[in-house]
C-alpha cells in the first residue's frame, strides 16, 4: 500500500445559493481544487463524489458522470463514481479515493462532495434527510432527524447530568468560529440566551442546536506521497482513513448515548496512524446537532464518557484550548450541505495544517482529525492527517 497525500483543496461559499445549480457548485469547487493542486485534466485518473440525495433535492441521479462532464473530463473518459452514506457521503468519497491511490490503481484522484438543498421546501428537505434513518421502523412512526438526536440528548442529560446550557455552549462556540471563516453560512455570533429562546424543534433541541439546510461543494485532490512534491510545496499526508457501520435504527444500538461506529472507526484510525487522541492538535467533528459534538468528542477519546458537555463552556474545545474542535464553524455554523460536509472537513484540515486558516488559525497545528457521521451513527468515518 502506498502513502497518500492531499495536493490541493477547494470549497465553495456555503449558504443559500439561490443563483447556482448543483452543476455550478461542482464546477466552482473543482476549479479551485485543481488550481490549488496545479494538475491538468489529463493527469486525473479517478473521481469520487459524495452526494446524498440528488434525486430528492434536484431530481438528478447519475451524479458521477454529471460532475465528470461538468468538470470538462468527459472526453478523457475518466472513471467517476458517486457514493452515498447519507451525511457521511463526502467522508466515504474521501476514503474511496484514498483506497484507489493507496492500492496503486490510480495516481491522481479527486474526492468531491456536493449537495444542492434549497430548491425544495423545508418539509421535503426534512423528509429527504429523514431517509438517513430507518424509513420502516423509525420514520413510519413519525421520527424526524432532529428527533433522533433529541432522544440521544435527553438520555445523555438524564444519565450524565449534561445541561441545556452546555448544549447551547457548543452552538455559541461554533458560531464564533464560523464568524471568522469566509465560506461559513452564518457569519454572526450568538449567545446562550439566544439559543435557549429559539423555537423548539424536537425537545430538548431548538432551532439553534441544529445545522442548517445548505448549498455547497468541496473537493480535494489526492496523489501518492512519493509524487506529491511534484505538485505541491505543502502536501498534507493522510495517516489514516477508517470507516465503520452500526445498526441503522437508533433504538437497536448497544448504547443510545454512544456512537459505536465512531468508537470503532476511531480505534482503527488511531491504530493505522500509530497515534493516541492526545496526539491530535485539532479536529473537525460531526455536529449536525449540538449533542452530536458532545457525543463525538467522547467517542473519539478527547473527553471521558459523560464529560463532553462541559468542554465547550470551559474552553477546552475553543481555538487556543486543549483540543480545538470545529474551527470552520462546524456543520452548525459553516453549514451542512450533506454530501459535501466530509470533504469540507478535510478542506478545513488542509488550511489549518498549512497555516492558511487566517483569523481562526490554530498555532502549531500539525496533526488533525476529521470525523464524519452518516445518519445518527449508522456510518462513521475518521481520517487523520498531518503536514
Amino acid at each position: 500500500m502506498r502513502s497518500v497525500s492531499i495536493i490541493g483543496a477547494g470549497c465553495t461559499k456555503f449558504g443559500e445559493r439561490w443563483d447556482d445549480s448543483l452543476r455550478d457548485l461542482v464546477v466552482e469547487t473543482g476549479i479551485m481544487a485543481l488550481e490549488d493542486a496545479n494538475v491538468s485534466g489529463d493527469e486525473i485518473d479517478g473521481l469520487y463524489v459524495g452526494n446524498m440525495s440528488g434525486g430528492r433535492f434536484v431530481e438528478q441521479e447519475h451524479i458521477g458522470a454529471l460532475i465528470s462532464d461538468c468538470a470538462g473530463l468527459s472526453r478523457l473518459n475518466v472513471p467517476s463514481t458517486r457514493v452515498e452514506a447519507a451525511c457521511a457521503s463526502g467522508g466515504i468519497a474521501l476514503r474511496q479515493s484514498v483506497l484507489a491511490v493507496a492500492s496503486g490503481y490510480s495516481d491522481v484522484v479527486i474526492a468531491a462532495g456536493v449537495e444542492k438543498m434549497t430548491d425544495v421546501t423545508g418539509g421535503v428537505a426534512a423528509d429527504a434527510l429523514a431517509a438517513a434513518a430507518d424509513r420502516e421502523w423509525e420514520c413510519f412512526f413519525g421520527a424526524t432527524f432532529p428527533a433522533l438526536y433529541a432522544m440521544i440528548a435527553r438520555l445523555h442529560m438524564h444519565r450524565y447530568g449534561t445541561t441545556r446550557e452546555e448544549l447551547a455552549e457548543v452552538a455559541v462556540k461554533n458560531h464564533h468560529n464560523g464568524s471568522m471563516n469566509p465560506i461559513s453560512q452564518y457569519q454572526m455570533e450568538i449567545t446562550v440566551d439566544k439559543v435557549l429562546r429559539s423555537p423548539l424543534v424536537a425537545d430538548p433541541l431548538r432551532v439553534l442546536d441544529c445545522s442548517p439546510i445548505t448549498d455547497g461543494a468541496a473537493a480535494v485532490v489526492l496523489a501518492p506521497t512519493e509524487l506529491a512534491h511534484k505538485y505541491s510545496d505543502a502536501p498534507i499526508n493522510i495517516l489514516a482513513a477508517a470507516q465503520a457501520s452500526d445498526t441503522l435504527a437508533l433504538h437497536d444500538r448497544r448504547d443510545i448515548t454512544t456512537l459505536d461506529a465512531t468508537v470503532s472507526a476511531a480505534r482503527k484510525a488511531f491504530g493505522m496512524a500509530r497515534l493516541e487522541p492526545e496526539d491530535i492538535d485539532i479536529a473537525e467533528v460531526h455536529d449536525a446537532f449540538t449533542i452530536g459534538e458532545i457525543v463525538a468528542i467522547e467517542d473519539l477519546g478527547f473527553m471521558e464518557k459523560g464529560e463532553g458537555g462541559r468542554a465547550a463552556g470551559e474552553g477546552i474545545t475553543a481555538i487556543g484550548g486543549k483540543i480545538p474542535i470545529n474551527t470552520s464553524g462546524g456543520l452548525k455554523a459553516c453549514g451542512h450541505p450533506v454530501g459535501a460536509t466530509g470533504i469540507k472537513q478535510a478542506y478545513e484540515m488542509v488550511l489549518q495544517l498549512r497555516g492558511e486558516a487566517g483569523k481562526r488559525q490554530v498555532e502549531g497545528a500539525e496533526v488533525g482529525l476529521a470525523h464524519n457521521v452518516g445518519g445518527c451513527g449508522g456510518t462513521a468515518l475518521v481520517h487523520i492527517m498531518s503536514r
Binding site: 418539509g123 426534512a126 423528509d127 413519525g142 424526524t144 428527533a147 432522544m151 425537545d203 435504527a249 443510545i256
Partner: protein, 117 residues
C-alpha cells in the same frame, strides 16, 4: 409479531431473519410480544415532516419491551406527562394519512399504563 432465537434466547422486534449473535447457526421462531414496555428516552416533536405536521406537537420515544428489544413509537400523552422510565402499552391507531384523500396508514402507538409509578 417478532422473532426469538432459540439458540441464544434473544428476542427481536422488528423481526429479523438472521440472528446477529448466531448468524448462520441461528434457530429463529416467531414470537408474539405482550407489547408492554418502558420509555428509555423520548422527545416531543414540534417541527415534523409534511406527513406528520398536523399531529404536532407529539411525543416520540424509544421503548424497551419486557423481553428486551427496543423500538421507536409515539406515546399518546401530554409533553409534561411523559418521562424516562414510564411504563407504556400498545394501542392500534391511525399513524398518518397521505393527504385528505390518500392512503391511511395504521399501526402501533403507545399509551401510559395507568398508575405506572
Amino acid at each position: 409479531m417478532g422473532t426469538h432465537c432459540e439458540k441464544c434466547d434473544e428476542y427481536y422486534y422488528p423481526p429479523r431473519t438472521i440472528c446477529p449473535n448466531c448468524r448462520r447457526n441461528a434457530k429463529m421462531e416467531d414470537h408474539k410480544f405482550d407489547g408492554v414496555g418502558t420509555v428509555v428516552t423520548f422527545t416531543t416533536i414540534y417541527n415534523a415532516t409534511d406527513d406528520f405536521k398536523r399531529q404536532t406537537p407529539y411525543n416520540l420515544a424509544i421503548i424497551e419491551l419486557l423481553e428486551g428489544p427496543r423500538l421507536t413509537g409515539q406515546v399518546i400523552c401530554s409533553p409534561e406527562e411523559i418521562e424516562i422510565g414510564m411504563r407504556v402499552k400498545p394501542v392500534f391507531r391511525i399513524l398518518w394519512k397521505e393527504g385528505e384523500r390518500g392512503i391511511i396508514y395504521y399501526g402501533t402507538k403507545f399509551v401510559p399504563v395507568e398508575g405506572w409509578v
